[in-house]
């Protein structure tokens, strides 16, 4: 298996009001080409910083140490697609859906505007947006949260990226829509042979989608393994804590039902 990106001793520090805050500490990690890798962790774990660092989207003020070696150096925006948590914030509110997607196609694939628009329509079909023809002329505020995220995904894959990064892309959605978006991401990644970096706080969700899971805490990589290893035989206590904290449909009841009112 080829390595898409090999991350070596990556360290990122932010300056805030003159104080240095370490967001990532000496992270070493290989992203395999074509794999679905989940990065999980709680707030402050550095998982989003890692996503931004890989995508080359860190603010200029961030101090970066270590290296990210690419199999083939990517062109940001074309070779890396990025889906953010809040689709309302990542879509332009005054630009129609077709224009936003066609612009990506036009910029990165060099197609003319009519061809770019046609491609946008195909993309909307691919992300299973109901009624893609009328959606083309819609503006983001006319769509539901799930539909907006579908449009954001269409824009992210428009230039045919090798790597798709989804940063908490389903966290703002309800469970049903979340499952639909996860299924969509899985299908698109498989169809296009993309590598997926799935950033999430939800270990169960990550386990459903990813082949490998990397657990982060306080800016450091705690544990990396195949999904089965992480779920069934975690080597680190913190991973076990995360697994035990998951309250699934089969979890033990927390409620002591003896005192139940009649």
């Amino acid at each position: 298996m080829t390595v898409l990106a090999s991350i070596r001793d990556l360290a990122v520090t932010h300056r805030r009001d003159g104080i240095e805050v370490a967001a990532l500490k000496n992270v070493t990690l290989d992203v395999q080409a074509g794999e679905r890798l989940a990065i999980i962790g709680e707030s402050g774990s550095g998982k989003s910083t890692l996503a931004l660092a890989i995508a080359g989207l860190l603010p200029k003020s961030a101090r970066i140490g270590g290296s990210i070696e690419w199999f083939a150096p990517p062109l940001g925006g074309r070779d890396i697609g990025f889906v953010f948590q809040d689709p309302s914030a990542s879509l332009d509110p005054v630009m129609s859906v077709s224009k936003q997607i066609a612009e990506v196609v036009h910029t990165h694939l060099g197609l003319g505007w009519p061809a770019s628009r046609a491609k946008a329509r195909t993309l909307l079909e691919r992300v299973r947006l109901p009624d893609p023809d009328s959606a083309l002329h819609a503006f983001p505020h006319q769509l539901s949260g799930g539909q907006k995220q579908r449009v954001a995904i269409a824009a992210a894959i428009a230039a045919g990226p090798k790597l798709l990064i989804a940063d908490e892309a389903t966290s703002a959605l309800d469970t049903i829509v979340q499952a639909e978006i996860v299924a969509l991401i899985r299908r698109l990644v498989t169809e296009d042979g993309m590598t997926l970096l799935f950033i999430s706080h939800d270990i169960a969700l990550a386990a459903e989608l990813a082949e490998r899971i990397a657990v982060f805490r306080h800016g450091a990589l705690v544990e990396l393994g195949t999904t089965r290893q992480i779920i069934d035989a975690p080597s680190q206590a913190y991973t076990r804590t995360l697994l035990d904290a998951h309250i699934g449909l089969d979890a033990d009841l927390l409620l002591n039902r003896s005192g139940l009112p009649a």
């Binding site: 469970t175 939800d202 998951h246 699934g248 009841l253 409620l255 139940l260």
Partner: protein
């Protein structure tokens, strides 16, 4: 007699001219010391019901009886006084507090507004509230934005119990918390319920959590009740379409347990 009895509650919103029912003819009761969960997809009306029950918005039709009297008939001073008994904890504990507030001020407000303790005695009460929710007393002078998310939600719970309520509306109160903190907050809530017989209206989209902490559940779909009953029974074997969809969509760990 039920602690809270909601009957035929209806609320319409105007969206591009035509009215859309956010809550459509919803009735339910909550008994003292009970947890009733409202679950459903986004837009199902669960948060609107929470805000109606709290009289943050007014219904278009329906009745709300709280502690034996007509809650919707209360106005002005009488309504504000009764609010002591019906509290709320929000999803995002940072947005739920004045950005300029300190922990002490946030807890001082309900004590002062309801005349629960004279000024000189309030610092002692605040300390007791902080201890009750498992926080260090020296947190009091800190600004709300300086403390962690889990600590903030504990402060929110302390504020809610300051006026000795009989019912607390928990609007996605643990959804934004880190999983390791979530369990502790749920434990705290259940402990409060056990000791002080506080009832909860538990709004959540997470069926796993609902099943673990609620006595009964109401599944909502497009503003209407799709199904209701014992939380475990409903979630283990849902009958309604929305119930089946919610259960099917819940992420599963499928852990191997020796």
């Amino acid at each position: 007699m039920s602690l809270l009895a909601v009957s035929n509650l209806t609320k319409n919103y105007r969206r591009t001219g035509k009215p859309v029912a956010a809550v459509d003819d919803v009735s339910f009761t909550i008994e003292p010391g009970e947890t009733l969960a409202l679950a459903g997809p986004s837009g199902s009306g669960k948060s609107t019901i929470a805000r109606l029950v709290l009289r943050l918005i007014e219904p278009d039709a329906g009745r709300i009886e709280f502690e034996g009297s007509d809650f919707l008939a209360l106005r002005g001073v009488a309504l504000r006084a009764r609010r002591a008994r019906l509290q709320m904890v929000f999803q995002d504990p940072l947005a739920a507090f004045n950005p300029r507030a300190t922990v002490a001020r946030v807890l001082d407000d309900p004590l002062r507004v309801h005349g629960i303790a004279p000024r000189t005695e309030r610092p002692r009460r605040i300390a007791a509230l902080l201890e009750r929710v498992g926080l260090a007393v020296d947190l009091a002078p800190r600004a709300i934005h300086e403390i962690s998310g889990g600590q903030r939600q504990r402060v929110a719970i302390a504020r809610a119990i300051a006026t000795k309520p009989s019912l607390i509306v928990l609007d996605e109160a643990v959804s934004a918390l880190d999983v390791s903190v979530r369990g502790q907050i749920l434990d705290l809530l259940l402990d409060l319920q056990r000791r002080e017989r506080i009832a909860f209206l538990f709004i959540s989209h997470d069926l796993g959590v609902v099943r673990a902490v609620a006595h009964r559940v109401i599944l909502l779909d497009a503003g209407r009740i799709a199904e209701s009953g014992d939380a475990r029974t409903v979630i283990d074997l849902p009958q309604s379409a929305v119930g089946k969809a919610l259960v099917a969509a819940a992420p599963r760990l499928n852990r191997y347990r020796p």
